[in-house]
Subunit: 348 residues, 2 copies
């Protein structure tokens, strides 16, 4: 992304649309970058104006994460693909226990997409980045012909630093550890489904889409030796916990009556025949820590606005089958299976 000096022709951000020439490397692309991206994301590193960003990093190991966002629809209650693309990658960097600092932004735009909507998306990215305290330092724009793509796909890649003393990793769950979550599950998936299926759910269900780096920083301060953190996005709690059970070579037991689920989400899932444990989240994290630190960690989470509904929802067990089991409210127990795919495509 090379923002440049002023050009004669201004973009028509009110009535204009994305044209093939906006991805062509010529003057039109320079205008789009200058008048839309560089303006919204303005910072000293982006202003270098080269095809790469050069910066200093504070001491520590480096952490890097990448995500493509192909969510449909692009706008939803609680956010849009732009804010989601920032939150998602900020979270993946922060879930290492590190501090996210810089993001890249890569756009694949569809010919004909309204510039007015693209501007809303870009402004949401800029706002989300500012709130999370990260800078968007370089980028790329490609345009594909009408009918290919879906308006906007975004890749964000994030970089940050993690203290040498911190080792949060998916293989560190140990039998006896406690499993915590920072709040209600299933909000994001149900918010998207309500749009997608046109079932007209109560609009009070909003995506939980949020940058969790502030919360995570408080958690690490309280309990530096958190064993595992991961966000239960695609595939929900079920997929993420099965993934972690395999990675750590353990089993897990969840307590059904401890998992925070909103009544509206439960109701929507019942209507659709879905299990909330498989529904995607975007502002949630699972944390696993030693039993004796769990109450401390819970208290740190509850003290942060994005963790006020946090709960200890289960524990790690020895289990050669690496099963995730749910202890139901009625005292029974069932295996939370690792399904092949997901209930709903294009959720993020």
């Amino acid at each position: 992304m090379s923002p440049r000096t002023a050009y004669s022709r201004a973009l028509d951000l009110e009535n204009g649309v994305v044209e093939m020439c906006h991805g062509g490397g010529g003057r039109a692309m320079a205008q789009l970058i200058d008048q839309l991206f560089a303006d919204a994301f303005a910072n000293d590193i982006l202003a270098q104006g080269n095809d790469q960003a050069v910066f200093d990093l504070p001491a520590g190991r480096v952490v890097m994460s990448t995500d493509n966002f192909v969510i449909s629809p692009l706008f939803f209650p609680g956010g849009n693909i732009g804010s989601l693309a920032v939150h998602g990658t900020v979270n993946d960097v922060a879930l290492s226990g590190g501090r996210p600092l810089y993001l890249t932004a890569g756009f694949i735009l569809e010919e004909g997409y309204p510039l007015k909507e693209l501007k809303l998306i870009v402004e949401s990215m800029a706002k989300a980045a500012e709130q999370a305290g990260v800078k968007i330092v370089t980028g790329d724009t490609k345009v594909v012909e009408r009918g290919h793509g879906d308006g906007v796909y975004i890749n964000t890649t994030g970089i940050g630093v993690v203290d040498e003393a911190i080792t949060v990793s998916g293989e560190r769950a140990k039998p006896g550890d406690k499993i915590l979550i920072n709040g209600f599950v299933g909000d994001h998936g149900v918010a998207i489904m309500s749009l997608r299926e046109g079932l007209g759910f109560d609009s009070s269900i909003q995506s939980d889409c949020a940058s969790l780096n502030g919360l995570i920083s408080d958690m690490i301060s309280a309990v530096p030796d958190i064993h595992v953190m991961r966000d239960p996005t695609r595939g929900g709690l079920a997929a993420t916990l099965n993934e972690l059970a395999h990675q750590s070579g353990v089993g897990m037991e969840l307590l059904e009556n401890k998992i925070p689920i909103r009544d509206e989400v439960r109701g929507a899932c019942e209507i659709l025949g879905l299990d909330p444990l498989y529904v995607a989240n975007e502002g949630k994290l699972l944390a696993i820590c030693a039993e004796e630190e769990a109450e401390n960690l819970l208290a740190a989470m509850k003290a942060h606005p994005l963790g006020k509904d946090a709960a200890i929802i289960g524990r790690v067990l020895e289990d050669d089958h690496h099963f995730v089991q749910l202890k139901t409210s009625f005292g029974g127990s069932r295996v939370v299976d690792w399904i092949a795919g997901e209930q709903l495509p294009r959720i993020c």
Copy 2:
């Protein structure tokens, strides 16, 4: 990208296709990552198996660059979207004068795309990364419905380090500086066009797609104070030099008879009514340095296999209009305009 332990069901890499479930976050996605990506890209950092990679960087400023690849067709003489995605980002990092070290890989796959072809693309990425001496350390996979996307889109984001003493940047071109290129222009664009238009050009025209970090390292060793480097990809020499002229606030003069162009490329451009100066390159770089260092830099370039046809093709002038001018072989002069878009979409 979280590669994981073994699963019961093997992917059918011979006859299978991409399915929506491969992007769902569940067991099918884990299989795809394990059996295709993790296997091809295998390295110690990727093997961490988390949603982010954690690593140490050598001393120096950090350089970061991102690119989306949407080239059509996906396979072309001299490469495919996989090798291109590695070369392109390796080059953007290296063109800072730095040393590329790590890449991320983000895939947007179209439902129904043959896994056999995806495997070829992934293997090309792995090979290109190995040759360039970089590791693919984390990634992401999304799947979009059949008819959206075009088989495969790839984002790569690269990170490297640049010595504190090196400052290569687009605003450093000064009147009197010389402009160099490392070889023949227009090969990539013509190779793609010959496929796209079905005009059946001589198949000897191959894309020049290559990782230039080895060449660039030799150039920096010879002339540490290279003022500017940039790769003339989309929009060709014309777009890149106009961009740099604006960024540095200078004019440029190119000598037509010094610009290396293959006869086949010139012929193809004549048939298509194109100007080779606007045709995309993928293994080319423009370098601008002080006049007194130009012969040294040229010698260093010629000593490397990817610079053996290097040439000094022009010089930087004072010019408030920031024009790029071409001195023709007949002694005349014309302005090389900054066109709005490009002659050919989806070239990278």
